[in-house]
Amino acid sequence: MTENNWIYACNVADMPHNGGVCVQYGTEQIALYYFTHRDEWYATQNLCPHRQQMALSRGMLGSSLGEPKVACPFHKKTFSLTDGHCMNDEACAAIKIYPVKIQDGAVFIDVASIYSSLITSYEQEKM
């Protein structure tokens, strides 16, 4: 892990409850979620690895046996918000997870320490 690099995303008041928004960071897109029901914050890549859609920020939040997850709106693949693995399709790649912190009503995402233990080494190579 490298040093932290906290970027400002938005204010807590701007956030929907139990849902996500998309944050622009250079050419990257990061999905940020405010899981009000658990009083937790998460951030992941916005790109759904299933069909490469920029969609996870528009996904529905939930839990399965206590583990928080987000469901992609396209085909409802669900991803763990704690480690990024796909919970309903073993063959689907995992997503990147970023740390989030709240300070004085503002939300920050650490874009340096991407946690990506589960990304498979095998990238799709269809033309």
Binding site: R58, G59, M60, G62, S63, P73, A93, Q124, K126
Partner: protein, 828 residues
């Protein structure tokens, strides 16, 4: 124990999986694969063209092999086996010793020796690499020919169609299609069905020469006829890959394949062969399930067991969507040995044949074309030699009203349910008894249903039957967060007067909700209170379509569908739609629901687009919601010479009454002005047809994948009565249906069926009619156009942005392509 596997195809991979599961001591497992990809699912190869990725098809990700201690060498075929020193040498020059060697080299496509097979544009259909080549060539091809009218050839032909080649032909040498599986009668119906899809079939055709200079331009046949084409796929059979085995002196069959005994041992006891490269008792098994069985036998042998391979049932089902073809047992047995019952329906293109023993007691085999719903059941009866009804015709012909090939039969515990994974009925019921009560749990625990998926309905039936035996009533609970059925939840939410998802969850559920219960509860809340769907506390519990009041599409844009009640629209409104579409660069299409869909809108543009549409007098069409969609109309008595009443006016009245109504699933309607039925009312959730005396009201029709005609609920009623009945009908549906259940399915599950429903709606048998009407009136009174509200409320409007920290910026990753002067979403 050093084990080397040659070939990392489906069977080689399954062998590894089964072997490591047994955890043999000091196992050193090495795999050599010629292809550069780890083993992938060849059975579902065609789905690659339908959008599946390499990743989707791979049986295990690359990382799985090292994680399980398997040394995998891909793209490095074995070129030599030295049996006396027990070593193998790879193409890259790796030399390794083995104690046991397993050949799982599969087979290659058999290419007949026709002059010209080396021309460009000629392909085989076996590997992902083959498909990539076909894909590239298909972009410039206008027609395609497949040589081979068997299972694989037909699949390849369908793939050509899916690639956009409209003119596709299949050439078969034999006098009929799928000659190994079906007879003349079946082949005839099959060719009709293929024709309807756009595939032309030619039987009794012998290809003599492939024409063209460098690139193929056509085929010439032995009868002198010529067929022009710019692409050819050869799918004329398989040829076991036995070249290595031959070279090192292993015995091979005279038509190819490595000869093995019942332990899958070759003539060298430390060398085994499994899968499509093996010949057992003169037979090559070109299916995956027997290959898995062979893998199991070898694993068992290596750990000291005594399992043997005894052959395999070769019943098969073609996997083409829309075309059912199946054969089981001995499909051809006839004359002295059996009696055949044949059902041949040229009108509906259905052919069924069963062969029954002469004493009428056992089912020996059969063929199903056009309707293979009974396949699983018949195949089970056949392999398990179950008793059949005294009149065996009942097995294939539905009779009477509630029809069904309704002979209930109980399978023996030993019945093999999932042949891909070799799971018996007993294993499944034991898994259920051990607490795995859902299909997913059973699949995870036993593997049943994880292969081709064909056995899924049977697995579900066995789970239900096992639970019933335990005395458990099977309740359709919503999900892990709510231990209630939708109907129970609906009543409780109403009783406790709950208004947001979190309130419902905290009062009646547990955990944090999920993508199943959130939309289900949201739909209940909307049906009960008709509150604004995108209120802050409810917005995120809606499916994305409801959350952004538009249908999401490939690439992440949205579609816009303004309401056009009854399909009637003024020229000015048409112009307004055209102007908006032009300004925001939207693809426009007339929908199947008599209105216009504007596709490809950026999230950021949605409020701007709707602002203009609303100013022109439009309202939301709720195309995104589980809600009333359209009420189609035919032109009716105002213009039509047959029209009995003004069907357009009535359709508009009805559409305006129920617009915005949320339900367990979408609801569609239509009004026709006479019995000619130009509005197709009998395919709708509720449909109305004018009669001399009034209106006939039909309910519970459905289009979609399982079309069903609507049934008559009330005849010759006046307009007011008709609306009263619809109020009651819809409200009763909303209150009692399971989530995502259309009215047709709801009725199919209802005990007492249409008679019961008629009693409730017309004769108020439950004494709730007044309540239903009042509830509906409340919803009607609460209607407001969601888009108007969203556009006018700054707080809501703000949400239609892609980036929270750059509200002006549209998603830069969205890409379009051009087609017939309009844009289309880029493929995925």
């Amino acid at each position: 124990m050093k084990v080397i596997v040659i070939g990392n195809g489906m069977v080689g991979q399954k062998f590894c999986e089964k072997l490591i599961a047994k955890k043999p001591e000091q196992l050193e497992l090495t795999v050599f694969g010629e292809e550069t990809l780890p083993a992938y699912d060849r059975v579902h190869l065609s789905e690659y063209f339908a959008g599946k990725t390499v990743q989707d098809l791979c049986m295990k990700p690359m990382g799985w092999y090292p994680e399980n201690g398997i040394n995998l060498h891909l793209g490095d075929p074995i070129v030599e086996i030295d049996r006396s020193n027990k070593t193998v040498t790879s193409f890259d020059g790796k030399q390794l010793a083995y104690d046991y060697l397993v050949l799982a080299t599969g087979s290659a496509a058999f290419v007949p020796s026709i002059s010209g097979v080396d021309k460009q544009g000629v392909f085989v259909y076996r590997t992902i690499e083959d498909l990539n080549l076909i894909w590239r060539h298909a972009k410039v091809a206008r027609s395609a020919v497949v040589i081979g009218g068997g299972l694989l050839g037909l699949e390849a032909a369908k793939a050509c169609l899916d690639l956009g080649i409209k003119d596709t032909h299949v050439i078969e040498f034999a006098p009929r299609l799928m000659p190994r599986q079906i007879d003349e009668g079946g082949s005839y119906i099959l060719s009709q069905k293929l024709k309807a899809l756009g595939i032309t079939t030619h039987t009794t055709k012998n290809t003599a020469v492939i024409l063209g200079n460098e690139t193929i331009t056509g085929l010439m046949f032995a009868d002198g006829s010529i067929l022009s084409t710019d692409m050819l796929v050869i799918s004329a059979g398989i040829k076991p890959r036995d070249e290595l085995a031959k070279k090192c002196g292993l015995h091979t069959g005279h038509r190819g394949g490595i000869i093995v005994n019942e332990h899958m041992q070759t003539n060298d006891p430390s060398v085994y062969a499994i899968g499509e490269c093996a010949v057992y008792e003169g037979m090559v098994y070109g299916l995956v399930a027997p290959g898995y069985d062979m893998a199991e036998v070898v694993v068992n042998k290596l750990i000291g067991g005594t399992k043997t391979f005894t052959g395999f049932d070769m019943s098969t089902k073609l996997k083409l969507i829309g075309i059912d073809v199946a054969s089981f047992g001995d499909p051809f047995i006839a004359d002295e040995d059996a009696r055949s019952i044949i059902y041949h329906d040229n009108h509906n293109s259905v052919y069924k044949r069963i062969n029954v023993s002469n004493d009428g007691k056992t089912l020996l085999g059969g063929i199903l074309v056009g309707d293979a719903e009974a396949y699983n059941q018949l195949q089970q009866i056949c392999v398990n030699k179950l008793a059949i009804p005294p009149s065996p015709v009942d097995l294939i012909v539905k009779r009477g009203k509630d029809g069904g090939t309704g002979t209930s039969f109980e399978l023996p515990d030993s019945a093999l349910i999932c042949s891909c994974e070799g799971v018996s009925k007993l294993t499944i019921s034991e898994a259920v008894n051990a607490g795995n009560e859902s299909f997913d749990a059973v699949k995870k625990c036993t593997g049943a249903g994880s292969g081709c998926g064909g056995c899924t309905p049977m697995v579900k039936d066995i789970i239900a039957a096992t639970l019933k035996k335990q005395g458990k009533i099977i309740r359709n609970v919503v999900c892990e967060h709510f231990n209630y059925s939708r109907q129970e939840l609906y009543d409780l939410v109403k009783l406790k007067n709950l208004h947001s998802f979190d309130e419902v969850l905290d009062t009646l559920g547990s955990g944090d909700g999920c993508e199943v219960c959130r939309p289900a509860v949201s739909s209940i809340l909307a049906s009960l209170w008709n509150d604004l769907i995108i209120k802050k506390e409810n917005a995120t519990s809606q499916d994305t379509n409801d959350r952004f009041l538009a249908n999401i599409q490939k690439g992440g844009t949205y579609s816009v569908v303004p309401r056009v009640p009854g399909g009637e629209i003024t020229p000015d409104k048409l112009i307004a739609i055209g102007q908006v579409a032009k300004k925001y660069n939207l693809y426009t299409k007339i929908t199947g629901g008599q209105r216009i869909d504007l596709f490809g809108a950026h999230l950021n543009d949605l409020p701007l687009i709707w602002e203009e549409l609303i100013a022109a007098g439009f309202e939301s069409g709720h195309a995104y919601g589980k809600a009333l969609r359209t009420v189609k109309s035919c032109v009716g008595s105002t213009w039509c010479r047959f029209g009995l009443h003004d069907s357009v006016s009535f359709a508009i009245e009805i559409e305006n009454r129920y617009k915005g109504l949320r339900a367990p699933h979408k609801i569609k309607s239509a009004v026709s002005g006479c019995i000619r039925e130009c509005a197709e009312a009998q395919s709708k959730d509720f449909g109305i047809i004018a009669t001399e005396k009034g209106w006939n009201l039909f309910v519970c029709g459905n289009g979609g994948s399982k079309p069903q005609h609507a049934l008559l609920l009330a005849a010759d009623v006046d307009s007011a009565t008709c609306i009263k009945y619809i109020d009651r009908f819809l409200m009763f549906y909303i209150k009692t249906a399971d989530p995502l259940t259309r009215t047709a399915t709801w009725l199919n599950k209802m005990e007492g069926g249409i008679d019961y429903l008629r009693n409730v709606v017309l004769h108020d048998s439950l004494g709730i009619a007044a309540e239903l009407e009042a509830e509906m009136q409340l919803l009607v009174d609460h209607y407001e156009c969601e888009w108007k509200k969203a556009v006018e409320t700054p707080e809501l409007r703000k949400r239609f942005t892609h980036f929270i920290n750059a509200p002006e910026t549209k998603d830069p990753t969205i890409a379009f392509e051009t087609l017939r002067e309009q844009k289309k979403a880029a493929g995925w």
